[in-house]
């Protein structure tokens, strides 16, 4: 069992710190884990945002978007996850690029942190750009600030930084003649698409962390398949990072909507009591 040692919520993004020493000692920037809240829960892939080898903890930022993440959101410190599998996926390619731009939105604000950290350690000039609807919704800023040469903001209502989105900041930088050698983006699918389009005219190498529907995470089931440069790739074993200029975005959007019916219907018979019951059962088992 994987105990939750710390938990907090910042506008629907839940920070969950889990005791998982084996993963903490093996994980690299850009990798993810697959977690299950209980024995009967769905498996969900989550980027590892930070880890502490000594304490044996990993930090995940989970966005509540459905019933499985709701289940996680309702867990408390001291509760245990049924399973945490990882590290999975190919680590980000870290080398001395020169100037690296990292863009993050929603869970991606936490998600880009380890990549920023690794890039900084490799000697890059790191510029982090984060977006949110309004200024109170940013999180993990202090840590990100420490590993970035520059931290830029974009908000929908203009309450902090630029009014707009990450790609607007990228475009502005390019207009001002800033040289970007490599870009990484993490966030919702359409943010990845928009950001990739923003870097395309200048031919900036762009990596995007795709978030297709994933099941086993080991390349067996093919649920997470994406078309990149006309080839079929599995986000779990070939990714999660791919060349943003080569991804077939329409297909990805469509595939992500495949279970809209089931996702809406499951709420009908969901009971928040079941978490309490499960906990009671766990306690009874422990004696």
């Amino acid at each position: 069992m994987y105990e939750i040692v710390e938990k907090s919520e910042i506008f629907n993004v839940h920070k969950i710190v889990i005791k998982a020493p084996a993963i903490a000692s093996a994980v690299k920037a850009g990798q993810f884990v697959i977690i299950m809240a209980s024995e009967y829960s769905e498996r969900i892939p989550v980027t590892v945002s930070d880890w502490d080898v000594e304490a044996g903890n990993i930090t995940l930022y989970i966005l509540e978007v459905g019933i499985s993440t709701l289940e996680l959101a309702r867990m408390k410190v001291g509760d245990s996850l049924f399973a945490v599998t990882g590290p999975l996926g190919v680590p980000s390619e870290i080398k001395d690029y020169g100037t690296v731009v990292l863009g993050g939105g929603c869970y991606g604000i936490g998600g880009i942190y380890p990549i920023a950290k690794a890039c900084k350690e490799a000697g890059n000039k790191v510029i982090s750009i984060i977006e949110a609807r309004y200024k109170d919704m940013f999180y993990h800023e202090k840590e990100l600030m420490e590993v970035s040469d520059k931290l830029l903001y974009a908000t929908s209502d203009g309450s902090k930084g630029k009014k707009g989105k990450v790609e607007d900041v990228v475009c502005e930088m390019l207009e001002q003649g800033e040289k970007i050698d490599q870009a990484f983006f993490m966030g919702c699918t359409q943010m990845l698409e928009r950001c990739s389009e923003a870097t395309r005219p200048n031919g900036i190498p762009t990596k995007v962390a795709l978030n297709s529907i994933m099941l086993d995470g080991t390349g067996m089931c093919g649920a997470c398949r994406v078309s990149v440069g006309g080839e079929i790739k599995f986000a779990c074993v070939d990714g999660p990072e791919f060349d943003g200029h080569e991804v077939n975005w329409n297909e990805l959007h469509n595939r992500k909507a495949a279970y809209a019916e089931q996702e809406a219907e499951i709420y009908q018979s969901y009971s928040h009591e079941c978490m309490a019951e499960k906990k009671l059962k766990q306690e009874l088992e422990r004696g």
């Binding site: 019933i67 309702r74 609807r133 309004y134 929908s156 009014k163 699918t189 709420y267």
Partner: protein, 554 residues
């Protein structure tokens, strides 16, 4: 106020609205008169079916001779009054008020540059806990705030957005509350207090901390809330929502049905999507609690009817004792083969009070022709025959039982059928009867949202049952299955031919329907299955109520 009286007795008093002279009756407000004259005044807190309080200030109008502006929802019309409902000054005022309201409502999406693509790609898949913008909100398609933003053409909010940061309230059954979206219009409180007389909620705290809540911050289920959800129906924002049916977006269709979970037979509108019932709510005119809907019809239908456990395909027992799924023709032949082995006096039918009139009539006709009128109901665990000539005496001779409400059959009752050889089950869910060796066929049938028909309810009202959803798998309405078996046994010469002939026969023999036991309104079962088994929140609700009051009423 009696609306009918207003229509009939338009008095000779007149006032002028926007240069138009209109008659009115004393007691009407400016808003009432304007609405009747086809003049639109934007409102958020006012509703025709709720007492007005004038709290949102959006309905401000200029009344000549009156200082400042007047809220049209609370100002009574007067003889000779001259009212202007719209002018650049009033519009500016309204926009300012709306901007202030929106500054305390997470509304960044309204001014977001990528609003449209986000709405197309992100919104449908997002089922967020804490709503941080319109695109994440379950109420986005029916939000009255958004409608007003469009009406007033608001494109910018000059004030910084203040998020109130109230905790989400998700510990109650059926209901999610996020008071960070609340604009304090007070409609929910008015419907609960004034229209229903329940007073489960009220404004709590003072000044900036004001919010809607229960006494001492108790859970609704621990207070006197009955989860009629009229507060959700009148809420102009997404602050209140029914957890089970908030994420399907805009429904494909809204269909008027009658809820026949009990004999009250309430008129309901079901939202359907993907061929399934996804939600139910009162018809619009009833949404402010003119009639209190119970939690069963309002919240339980989708979970009760969409369970993956529903019977989907007819199954028959092979000679080697195993059940196999088959098509209807084979299943009907199998069943009629077994039926034809027995004399009429050896066959009995267990009917259900939850069936539609058509199904009940066909079952009775079938029983009359093939089963010597051996048809009974189970009411409160007791056998009830629909004719007084029959009594428990017949049970010992019965060799074949055709059960339409199989889950009501307790072991005690089955034991009384001492010479029983075969059971045919026609039901919506698997029951323990499916496991019995005597069971030789299982027929999947439809629930009342999956078939057309009628149902006689209390006070002898005959209400319409309409098909709103697709049946699961190959499930068929009860009357259709019985009709097929009847025809198979008589080589197509069963007295009843089709749906229309059943309707005519019901009118000719009303006493057959009249003799069926009614379903009491406090019933917590549907066709013998406890609703709580399929709706976890309903179990929680009745358990809380039983603990607090020792009884549950609906």
């Amino acid at each position: 106020m009696n609306k009918l009286a207003v229509k009939n007795e338009l008095s000779h008093e007149k006032m002028t609205i926007d240069g138009k002279s209109v008659p009115f009756t004393s007691g009407e407000t400016i808003l009432d008169v304007a609405k009747r004259s086809g003049i639109y005044i934007p409102t958020l807190c006012a509703r025709a079916d709720l007492p007005s309080t004038g709290s949102c200030r959006l309905c401000l109008v200029k009344v000549e001779g009156m200082r400042g502006y007047a809220t049209s929802c609370t100002t009574p019309a007067e003889q000779g009054m001259v009212v202007t409902t719209n002018s650049p000054a009033i519009e500016k005022l309204r926009r300012g008020i709306l901007e202030l309201i929106l500054s305390e409502h997470p509304s960044a999406c309204l001014v977001c540059p990528i609003r449209e693509t986000c709405e197309k790609f992100n919104a449908p898949s997002s089922k967020t806990g804490r709503v941080t913008g319109c695109n994440m909100c379950p109420n986005r398609d029916t939000c009255e705030l958004r409608q007003l933003v469009e009406y007033l053409g608001l494109e910018e909010i000059r004030y910084p957005i203040l998020y109130k940061d109230f905790p989400l309230e998700r510990d109650d059954p059926f209901m999610d509350r996020d008071y960070n979206l609340c604009i304090l219009c007070g409609r929910c409180i008015r419907v609960c207090q004034e229209n229903l007389g329940t007073s489960a909620i009220s404004f709590v705290q003072r000044g900036h901390d004001t919010k809607v809540g229960t006494s001492f911050g108790k859970l609704h289920v621990d207070g006197n809330c009955r989860f009629c959800m009229h507060c959700v129906d009148v809420c102009p924002t997404g602050a209140l929502s029914v957890r089970g049916s908030k994420w399907y977006g805009y429904p494909d269709e809204e269909i008027n049905i009658t809820c026949i979970l009990c004999d009250r037979g309430c008129e309901l509108v079901v939202d359907t999507k993907w061929g399934k019932v996804m939600g139910a709510h009162p018809i619009r005119d009833m949404s402010a609690g003119k009639r209190e809907y119970c939690v069963k019809g309002r919240c339980c239908l989708p979970a009760l009817f969409n369970s993956p456990d529903r019977l989907k395909y007819p199954a028959v027992r092979r000679e080697d004792g195993k059940f196999i799924y088959t098509n209807w023709d084979t299943a009907i032949k199998h069943a009629s083969g077994i039926l034809s082995k027995y004399k009429a006096s050896e066959i009995a039918l267990l009917s259900s009070s939850h069936l539609t009139d058509e199904s009940i009539y066909v079952l009775h006709e079938f029983a009359r022709v093939y089963a010597d009128s051996n048809i009974f109901y189970i009411v409160d665990g007791k056998l009830t025959f629909s004719t007084i000539e029959k009594s428990d005496e017949i049970l010992k001779d019965i060799k074949l039982l055709y059960a339409v409400e199989a889950n009501s059959l307790t072991d005690d009752i089955i034991d009384r059928f001492s010479s029983l050889e075969h059971i045919i089950v026609q039901d919506i869910y698997p029951s323990k009867l499916s496991l019995l060796e005597k069971t030789c066929a299982i027929f999947p049938t439809t629930v009342f949202t999956e078939m057309d028909g009628t149902k006689t309810c209390a006070e002898n009202r005959r209400e319409t049952v309409a098909k709103a959803a697709n049946p699961p798998g190959n499930a068929m309405p009860d009357w259709e299955i019985i009709l097929k078996i009847g025809n198979e046994l008589r080589n197509g010469n069963f007295k009843i031919k089709d749906f229309r002939s059943i309707q005519n026969l019901i009118l000719m023999h009303p006493w057959i329907i009249g003799a069926v036991p009614m379903v009491p309104k406090d019933s917590v079962v549907y066709r013998g299955f406890p609703i709580a088994d399929f709706v976890p929140d309903f179990r929680e609700y009745i358990e809380h109520r039983l603990k607090a009051n020792g009884e549950v009423h609906f």
